[in-house]
């Protein structure tokens, strides 16, 4: 029974990792952009969320209505003004530029908010839980995170497979030049793709801030979890990314159960094990 509880907690943790990973998965899937600053953008969203919640005094979930458009707009501008210029046949420029961006965001946040650990106060929700029996209880907040992660992926699936914009994303992802020949402005579409990815980043950042403490330096480790989840799931598959997040969460929970110091290590070991067995991840999109 204790182990069942461990796995349930792992699944709940995995929901957050899946959200971290979804934005990365979108950026890589559509633009072949490996975004080293992804973790820091999540932390940035957490701080934007903090400011919104503290300034307006609204509930964090209501705050999302403001944070999501802010981050999406920032994403579009960032893509049009900077990242589009780095994309091409060479993979190195986007890596270098987003690495630089990562350092800039971290230091800006440090300058503005100091290195103090912060958290968005969610009041009673923080400790609320659903008791299944005396050994299993499910935290309401982690459950909300998991449900939101699943909803986000459903929404993205709908966007990708049922809308014109989604077709444009898929066409551009498939062959940029041919998509342009079909009348699609790739620079604009990349901007919109980044806006969508950053909307997910905003959700991930605010939920992170509601669940745990954060400070300006935690971005890179969130990036690592995100990468691991994306690669476990298989590049370009959204449901795979969700599965990757859950597997990573469960592994960490099992690691922590064996020994508290093993939590992070166990996640990395699971990642390596899956890479050995399935180098292309569990659900690779296509053979290309």
């Amino acid at each position: 029974m204790e182990w069942i509880n461990t796995i349930i907690q792992g699944v709940l943790l995995g929901g957050l990792y899946a959200l971290f990973a979804t934005g990365l998965s979108l950026m890589f899937g559509i633009m072949r952009l490996v975004n080293i600053a992804h973790g820091d953008l999540i932390v940035l969203a957490a701080y934007v969320g903090l400011v919104v919640v503290e300034t307006l005094g609204v509930h964090p979930v209501v705050g999302l209505i403001i944070v999501v458009p802010i981050m999406a707009g920032l994403g579009y501008l960032l893509q049009r003004a900077l990242l589009n210029r780095t994309l091409g046949s060479d993979i190195l420029p986007p890596l270098l530029v987003t690495f630089g961006l990562s350092i800039i965001i971290q230091n800006l946040l440090l300058e503005i908010f100091s290195a103090d650990s912060r958290r968005i106060n969610v009041g009673e929700l923080d400790v609320a839980s659903i008791t299944i029996n005396d050994q299993i209880s499910i935290g309401v907040m982690p459950l909300i995170v998991l449900i939101l992660a699943i909803l986000v992926i459903f929404a993205l699936q709908f966007l990708f497979y049922k809308t014109g914009l989604g077709r444009a994303f898929r066409a551009t992802s498939d062959d940029q030049d041919i998509a342009r020949l079909m009348g699609i402005s790739n620079k604009h579409i990349f901007g919109l793709a980044m806006a969508v990815a950053m909307a997910v980043v905003a959700i991930a950042g605010v939920l992170l801030a509601m669940r745990t403490n954060f400070d300006p330096a935690i971005g890179p480790s969130r990036l690592l979890y995100g990468f691991e989840a994306v690669i476990i799931g298989g590049l370009g598959s959204l449901w795979g990314t969700l599965a990757g997040g859950l597997i990573l969460g469960i592994s960490q929970a099992i690691g922590a159960k064996i020994d508290p110091g093993w939590q992070i290590l166990m996640g990395h070991l699971m990642f390596l094990a899956i890479l050995v067995v399935r180098p292309r991840g569990l659900f690779p999109r296509s053979v290309d």
């Binding site: 014109g164 077709r167 444009a168 898929r170 498939d174 062959d175 030049d177 020949l181 079909m182 009348g183």
Partner: protein, 241 residues
């Protein structure tokens, strides 16, 4: 009649290799122009210069009286220049129908049901209606070639550039293709067609343009061009009949 497309003194080199050297020609609305020349003569480069895949070193491309030389690929597509490639480039992960919806909504700028209606019409004309919901990556080579033409048509082009679309087709398929292309002409679509299968080409086009080593060798009425000794030298033994 004003020219729909006017190409003036186009030059393009890759290093010391001149792929297009001082090419000029124009084509009127509703006209069909065939382009022939040996492999590597610069025919596909000429298409890239017109459709916008590459920029010329010098020279201008006027479309509908508008200087589009520095226009992006997608802008030219929206303006009405459509092209098909010699090697088909379907969006493999999307269905055949979705492949056409992309052009219909982003280049032809149609919304919802109008885009769908155009896509269905194009599918019907290119014989792909039965394959509408199949992933484009699963099509046979012949079907891919049809889809390549269908994708170009889904952008509702005023000028259609066809690159060796008849290559590899059987005599019967080639005949069907010629009928389809003739029906497009009747609708008023202006055509430039690069083709090695000269008899198919000559049965459609009004004029022929011959390119060799990036230079315009001859241009004019198809049979007259084919009887030019210099052209016959390139196309030894191939007659226009």
């Amino acid at each position: 009649m004003t020219a729909l497309l006017e190409v003036q003194n186009l030059h393009k080199s890759y290093g010391s290799l001149k792929v297009t050297e001082d090419i000029s020609f124009s084509i009127n609305r509703g006209e069909a122009l065939g382009v022939i020349g040996p492999n590597g003569a610069g025919k596909s480069t000429l298409f890239n210069l017109i459709a916008g895949g590459i920029r010329p070193d010098s020279g201008t491309v006027l479309f509908n009286g508008l200087d589009v030389t520095n226009f992006h690929l997608h802008e030219r597509s929206i303006k009405g220049i459509g092209r098909s490639f010699q090697i088909p480039h379907p969006f493999g992960g999307m269905t055949v129908f979705e492949n056409l919806l992309v052009g219909a909504s982003f280049s032809a700028k149609l919304k919802g049901q109008d885009a769908e209606a155009l896509a269905i019409d194009v599918l019907d004309r290119t014989g792909l209606l039965e394959k509408a919901n199949r992933p484009a990556g699963e099509l046979t080579l012949l079907e891919r070639k049809r889809l390549e033409l269908a994708k170009a048509l889904s952008t509702q082009p005023a000028l259609l550039l066809l690159d060796e679309i008849a290559g590899g087709l059987t005599e019967h398929e080639c005949h069907e293709l010629v009928e389809l292309i003739n029906s497009l002409r009747k609708e008023g679509i202006t055509l430039i067609w690069i083709e090695h299968i000269v008899h198919a080409l000559v049965s459609v086009v009004d004029r022929l343009l011959v390119i060799d080593f990036g230079v315009k060798l001859d241009e004019g009425e198809p049979h007259a061009v084919m009887n030019n000794p210099k052209v016959q030298e390139i196309y030894m033994g191939i007659s226009a009949e």
